[in-house]
């Protein structure tokens, strides 16, 4: 059987990467801290993918590669598959994990909630929560970017957890970005919304 360690080991490392980079090494430079945390994830995604694809034939297309990430790769990491994969067929994919393990036990700061209770408590605490968790998303995004790059698909990856504990991971392949840049009168964000999303598997 494959070797295992307690989940707390992994959780502790992740918490500590974020707090070291954000509070000690780059205390006033969140962008730099984010880039470093993402780089650590990239390295991990790259190495894991090399190991997990050793005995596989080359993926025939991008969809096959992304399905591998959603199924086998995700299963190795979290003992479950991605719950939902959507694509616009033009190089953008959204991977949804309904209960993302690395964030599922995170909670907003209760003291913040109490102090802001007099005001609009729900939006206030949501904001704080989003701020506190956003740094924790760079590592998993880095892993996916590292994995896809290793499979020959350079891309940009971002994540959104507004439906906590579900996590939406957006992968935009570079070919698409080039197309969007050419389409100069529209911003990337605007264009993405105009795409028609179809579900690829559930």
């Amino acid at each position: 059987m494959a070797r295992e360690v307690s989940e707390s080991c992994m959780d502790s490392l992740l918490t500590e990467i974020v707090s070291s980079y954000c509070n000690r090494f780059y205390a006033n430079k969140p962008e730099l801290a984010a880039r470093r945390i993402e780089a650590i994830g990239y390295q991990v995604g790259h190495q894991l993918t090399e190991r997990y694809t050793i005995e596989r034939p080359r993926f025939s297309d991008h969809l096959e590669a992304i399905k591998f990430i959603c199924k086998d790769f995700w299963f190795e990491l979290f003992k479950k598959q991605i719950d939902n994969l959507k694509t616009n067929h033009r190089g953008t994919f959204v991977l949804q994990d309904n209960k993302f393990r690395w964030l599922s036990r995170m909670s907003g700061d209760s003291s913040v909630e109490i102090s802001s209770a007099a005001q609009d408590s729900s939006t206030m605490s949501d904001n704080k929560f989003a701020q506190a968790t956003s740094m924790h998303l760079y590592f998993p995004c880095g892993i996916i970017r590292g994995a896809l790059s290793t499979l020959g698909i350079p891309c940009a990856v971002s994540a959104d957890i507004s439906n906590h504990p579900a996590c939406n991971i957006l992968c935009v392949f570079h070919e698409l970005m080039r197309r969007l840049v050419c389409d100069s009168d529209k911003g990337v964000a605007v264009s993405l919304h105009e795409f028609k999303w179809t579900k690829r598997y559930s």
Partner: protein, 186 residues
């Protein structure tokens, strides 16, 4: 009936949530790599790994006490045994052995022959001064400090430096008497 002090962490390890060790090992490796790039000095990397370990240790002790059911250790000898047999097993899935006691019973060595942190690891010549597993010494120091023991934890042998095992020397500096800032109402 008071629960018996467990002599091994096998049962606890079997019951905790576990993850693929490759993910853990490669993540730790990627952290060390990134620290070497960002901090440049090997000495500084050693220091920061120890600090990260310390921060982890002071939190991990809670989980250890909650899940292990250990009662108060009678002396430092028992403490060392519990760390080696229960603590290491419960988190890393491996057991350490305790040897090299000094006559006062305040200094000993934890020997790890199997260490999941170093699977796949080889140190390049430029990192010779690096204590790759320094996070572990920090964890032990941090955890013990939370149970009133000030310790000094240093690496004596390191397989990445060509030794035949990992040997962590744990030296008890002082035991801080527990203080009760609260009033016992019972």
């Amino acid at each position: 009936m008071a629960p018996a002090v467990p002599r091994s962490g096998d049962a606890i390890f079997a019951n905790v949530e576990r993850v693929n060790a490759e993910l853990f090992t490669l993540t730790y490796g990627a952290i060390v790599r990134q620290l070497l790039t960002d901090l440049e000095e090997v000495e500084e990397v050693n220091k920061q790994l120890d600090q990260m370990g310390y921060n982890i240790g002071i939190r991990l002790i809670d989980e250890f006490l909650a899940k292990s059911n250990v009662t108060r250790c009678v002396d430092f000898r028992e403490t060392a045994e519990v760390i080696a047999k229960v603590g290491f097993k419960m988190f890393l899935g491996v057991t350490a052995s305790v040897t090299n006691w000094d006559t006062e019973g305040t200094c000993c060595s934890l020997i790890l022959e199997d260490n999941p942190l170093v699977d796949f690891v080889e140190l390049p010549d430029t990192c010779q001064g690096l204590y790759y597993c320094n996070i572990l010494s920090g964890v032990v120091r941090g955890a013990l400090e939370m149970v009133s023991m000030k310790t000094e934890v240093t690496w004596v042998r390191d397989m990445l430096r060509g030794d035949d095992a990992f040997e962590l020397q744990v030296k008890l500096l002082k035991q801080i008497p527990e203080e009760y800032p609260y009033k016992d109402d019972e």
